[in-house]
């Protein structure tokens, strides 16, 4: 008997958000979704930056980031001097349907954004412009509704696709009533909101009609359907959704408060029908590309820039999977839009490509799954793997679709356009520039800041400055430690008054943090906090810098405030955990690191600090697991391997310890002995004594605060050729993890240290300076905590010259004192 084929149904709901779904499921309003959740796994799907749908849905269908797949933004150059909505021509890599075609699987692809013009896949394809009822500026009549060219493959299905289309003019009052119960009170001709609902509903019904028709009448292994309606309904009506926003007109609120809920109910009804069309061997996967703010996080205004409405998008979409071999009633963590295609390939037992940015979500399976890997799907030469060929596309349809994007606020209005060549050229130039901005954002969100910065500097135009580009330049400059460049741009913005000073203070603070001027950063952030008391950016930056300055209570207050504003912010939880870790509150830290990881699994720093926390709690095996996750997510962090080596040594796993020692040696730059201690006469005496005994010591022993050290330079310690270096105590925490260290710490009383420092400043000794003593005591606590929290570190505490004659010290310093 022939084995039954596993099928996969992928349902895409643009902008679907758990906050709304959970509420509706709890109230019994989404029974179909409830049944899928109960019979399968659920999780949050992390979006990408920028959170723009055509880019995201292409990442979902390819498993790679936009800078690899080539779909950038909402519009593209049409090759004829104009622009058109982004099309399948822009995609440079294979989509899941190309891979399945090469492997002989049959697919139905309906409405995917962007999939126009359609591709000649093994199966059927209905493009995202198929439901378009407009031709140019005119709306086609219901009875004379042409099928646009390039929207259906193969041609033999055109007739049956035409039969299931719903025209917006066919949407009657009783179809709109469930969304707006008091619709009769509105003047349909005057109030465009009802027309908009009719249009969204007609488009969704058309896509659903095509999907159900193909599922019922065509043989298929994979069906993927994409609906944009939740996104469109949310952009138009989320402002009316309860709770009522401040300043919202009472009448408008009462009229439209149920529209978004209505959209979700309708999607649930469509889902119910799809579930009736599948058998028990079908896996159902439901995803959204991003979420949508529905509560107090709804922005008060939408910036009037291209793609401005994306500020309403929330960073997590939804992921649900149900089917044979998939866990039931469980949650998964750490899923990203990039992981969808690798997971689909795994469901078909097909190999995942190493050049994909996503990974298969193996946690969804009841039994462990073995994944096969290949280098790439791009160089596989099998029939059906070609990308879209140039087909005839319908210009009038493109024009209509472009107008729709303008209406939604995603693309600049072209009303200013006339037919003059210069104006058109200028518009096209701006479109290309905007797409390059999205490309740069895609680079920077993947950590490729150099590539992003190069591109941004190329497209930045002083004649028509765009604050978004300038902010991104400053952020990338900070990330790549090009602080003078960042400051140059801050100055430029300030002089030209392109942004409010308060915003600039936040950027300037980031530069000051990079330059290690923590107190200047705190001043700027405190000022910004007065203007924006609830801005997450300000609270997080301030929390981070206060952690560095070891004002741990102040830091915790910032992170706590940030968590109360947005409980889903992983960085706030991580910050809170780090402040607790530095305060040696390990249980508390553990809780927050776990929260951060639950909210964002691909967060190497959170896993790393979780690992450290577990070490201090003596949970060594769990700590090993955490550091292994870090090694997987961010393989270039040498300190991870030091911890793994240290932990395996502790547990007596000599083979593993040797393996990690080998990895450490790959990054190891050598050995250094560091002499440090609170600034004091005793420290001076020790350093001078060693020098007098012929020891070459790197570093300026007169520079007790390390002001001459270029702290912003990565691996600044490398500049010292000497194997023994004096490092001011406040810089100990910033030492690179690429050396093996031995520390000689010169102990002294903080009162002596205060006297010493005051004598340097010409002040009378023994004058009690409370602030200075507090600061010195804090510094001692910080360095001691740091010593205790490092893997494989030897620290020898000495009390003065006498102790130097200790044989261990002699060994450290490779010198014999007579």
């Amino acid at each position: 008997m022939q084995k039954k084929k596993n099928k996969v149904l992928l349902i895409g709901w643009d902008a679907a958000d758990w906050k709304i779904i959970d509420q509706m499921v709890d109230n019994g309003l989404m029974p179909a979704m409830k049944s899928v959740i109960e019979r399968g796994v659920r999780g949050r799907l992390a979006t990408l930056d920028p959170p723009l749908s055509p880019m995201l849905w292409t990442s979902i269908a390819t498993g790679v980031r936009p800078f690899k797949h080539g779909v950038l933004g909402f519009v593209e150059h049409d090759g004829k001097g104009g622009v058109r909505p982004v099309s399948s021509y822009s995609r440079k890599v294979k989509a899941i349907w190309n891979m399945l075609t090469m492997e002989g699987y049959k697919s139905n692809i309906i409405g995917w954004w962007p999939s126009n013009p359609v591709e000649s896949i093994n199966g059927c394809m209905v493009s995202n412009l198929f439901q378009q009822e407009k031709k140019g500026k005119e709306t086609m009549d219901v009875n004379n509704w042409e099928m646009p060219e390039g929207t259906i493959y193969p041609e033999r299905i055109i007739e049956k696709m035409m039969a299931v289309r719903v025209h917006p003019h066919e949407i009657t009052g009783n179809l709109v009533m469930p969304f707006v119960p008091e619709a009769v009170a509105l003047d349909k001709k005057q109030d465009k909101r009802l027309t908009v609902i009719a249009k969204f509903l007609a488009h969704a019904s058309t896509i659903h009609g095509a999907c159900t028709e193909l599922m019922e009448t065509e043989e298929w292994d994979f069906t993927a359907v994409y609906h944009d309606a939740i996104d469109h309904f949310s952009h138009a009506f989320m402002k009316y959704n309860p709770p009522k926003m401040e300043g919202m007109d009472e009448d408008a609120y009462e009229l439209f408060k149920d529209v978004v809920k209505g959209a979700y109910v309708f999607h649930d009804m469509m889902l119910e029908r799809l579930l009736k069309l599948i058998d028990d061997d079908t896996t159902v996967v439901i995803v959204s590309d991003h979420g949508f703010h529905s509560d107090h996080l709804r922005p008060r205004f939408v910036p009037q820039v291209p793609s401005g409405p994306a500020v309403e998008h929330a960073p997590y979409g939804i992921f649900v999977a149900m089917g044979p071999g998939i866990k039931k009633g469980e949650r998964i963590y750490g899923a990203r839009v990039l992981d969808v295609t690798p997971t689909l390939l795994t469901l078909f037992d097909l190999p995942v490509a190493k050049d994909m940015d996503g990974k298969p979500l193996l946690d969804i399976f009841e039994e462990p799954r073995e994944v096969n890997y290949i280098e790439s799907w791009e160089n596989i030469d099998k029939p059906g793997g070609d990308l879209v060929k140039l087909l005839k596309v319908d210009d009038a349809m493109n024009e209509a679709a472009l107008q729709q994007l303008i209406d939604l606020g995603y693309v600049d209005d072209m009303k200013v356009l006339d037919n003059a060549d210069d104006t058109r050229k200028e518009y096209l130039k701006n479109v290309i520039r905007e797409n390059n901005f999205y490309l740069a954002k895609s680079y920077s969100s993947a950590g490729h800041y150099d590539e992003a910065l190069e591109l941004l500097l190329e497209i930045e135009n002083r004649e028509s400055p765009d604050f978004r580009y300038l902010i991104e330049i400053i952020n990338c400059a900070v990330k790549t430690k090009r602080f003078p460049l960042a400051q140059e741009y801050i100055e430029y913005i300030r002089q030209d008054k392109l942004m409010k000073d308060d915003f600039l203070d936040i950027l300037e603070a980031k530069v000051q943090i990079g330059l290690n001027n923590a107190s200047s950063a705190v001043k700027l952030l405190d000022k910004a906090k007065k203007s924006f008391p609830d801005a997450p950016d300000v609270l997080l930056e301030l929390g981070k810098v206060l952690t560095v300055m070891r004002d741990l209570e102040g830091a915790k207050m910032c992170f706590q405030r940030s968590i109360s504003i947005d409980p889903d912010n992983p960085h706030a939880h991580h910050g809170m955990g780090l402040a607790a870790l530095r305060n040696e509150e390990y249980e508390l830290a553990l809780e927050y690191f776990l929260n951060a990881i639950e909210k964002l699994y691909h967060y190497p720093q959170a896993h790393f600090h979780l690992g450290e926390c577990l070490v201090f709690l003596k949970e060594y095996q769990s700590a090993i697991h955490s550091f292994e996750v870090v090694a997987n997510l961010a393989p270039n962090l040498p300190k991870t391997y030091r911890w793994l080596q240290d932990l395996h040594e502790t547990l007596g796993n000599s083979k593993e310890a040797a393996y990690y020692n080998l990895l450490v040696s790959k990054y190891r730059l050598g050995e250094k002995t560091i002499i440090t201690g609170v600034p004091s006469k005793k420290l001076f005496e020790v350093l001078n004594y060693l020098k007098d005994n012929g020891l070459e010591i790197g570093g300026d022993i007169e520079d007790v605060f390390g002001s001459s050290i270029e702290i912003t330079k990565p691996n600044w310690l490398v500049d010292y050729k000497e194997s023994i270096v004096f490092v001011p105590v406040m810089l100990v925490g910033s030492l690179t993890g690429r050396f093996d260290y031995s520390f000689v710490y010169v102990e002294d009383d903080v009162n002596n240290s205060a006297d010493f420092l005051m004598s340097l400043g010409g002040l009378k000794q023994s004058t009690y300076n409370e602030q200075l003593i507090d600061a010195l005591e804090k510094q001692v606590r910080v360095v001691e905590t740091w010593f205790s929290q490092q893997p494989n570190l030897d620290v020898l505490h000495i009390n003065g010259i006498e102790d130097l004659k200790n044989p261990i010290i002699e060994k450290y310093l490779k010198l014999s004192f007579k």
Binding site: T172, N174, L175, S205, H208, T212, E213, M269, M270
Partner: protein, 59 residues
């Protein structure tokens, strides 16, 4: 799910084994049925329009 015409020529679809009368004005439930619902609704609308025209002519 089947689509058929009843004795008095109303458009009826069979939903979960039970007959369902398709109103010419449609309903969200009909739209959510996808292909079957849309086709039946279009048919019901056509039928209703024909009846309206016939009634006008008879007057």
């Amino acid at each position: 799910m089947n689509r058929n015409k009843s004795a008095n020529d109303k458009v009826i679809i069979t939903l979960n084994g039970k007959p369902f009368d398709v109103p010419p004005g449609g309903s969200l439930g009909i739209l959510a049925l996808g292909n079957v619902g849309i086709k039946a609704w279009k048919q019901a609308k056509l039928k209703w329009e024909q009846e309206q025209n016939n009634a006008k002519e008879e007057k």
